[in-house]
Amino acid sequence: MAELIEPADGETAAIAYLSAVALSDPVLAGVEVVGALSSSSPGYEPGPEAVVVRLTGLAARSLAVDVHQITLTAWATSREDELRASVIFRRAAAHLLLAERVGFLAGVPCSEVRPISGYNDPDPITGRARYSGSFGVALRGVVVQ
């Protein structure tokens, strides 16, 4: 009987992976790693320093592998803190790229992490400094039946 394979939960895997590495990386000490909360959600504002992880696209590469477009937005505390936002973004991006060499993203088999973009992206609502970028992350799907 053929296996039923669904795409992995790429966003949750990326959050779990980056949350774990943030605990052991002094550069990311105190940086929250959170999910797809929009900066315009009522009452929501990311913590003092944060990486917001969002799944912004998904395409099947083969029967078993999907490419998840993961977008990271690194927040610094203030409008003036562009350099810190850049440091957080670049370190989080480096960890994400490492997942390809490790072969797993929070336990999900990961065969490729390809950078797509990276740019200075100040928040239009609060003015806080941010850097954002997207990555194509190839993850194996999950056999559910």
Partner: protein
């Protein structure tokens, strides 16, 4: 026993001609329009032919669309509409 070496000679002018062809421009324009439509109002696309290849740019054209992209990544989320 001698080994036979296969040489590949690229026809660069042919590549360039293909990448600048009307068919490629039309395909890129269709993909750009699909992405712009998925991203919502205030996002437009423009296809053009450069010296080596055709290209399409999809961009926010209004303050509202720029804010929507910065807050919610509305254009970034729409890139998938350009596939297929």
């Amino acid at each position: 026993m001698g080994s036979k070496v296969t040489r590949i000679v690229f026809h660069s002018a042919g590549f360039r001609s293909l990448m600048r062809s009307q068919a490629v421009v039309a395909d890129l324009a269709r993909r750009g329009e699909a992405i712009a439509a998925a991203a919502g109002p205030g996002v437009g696309s423009r296809a053009s032919v450069g010296s080596n290849r055709a290209r399409v740019v999809v961009m926010t054209e209004t303050d509202e669309a720029k804010t929507a992209e910065a807050a919610d990544k509305t254009l970034t989320r729409s890139i998938g509409a350009g596939r297929g």
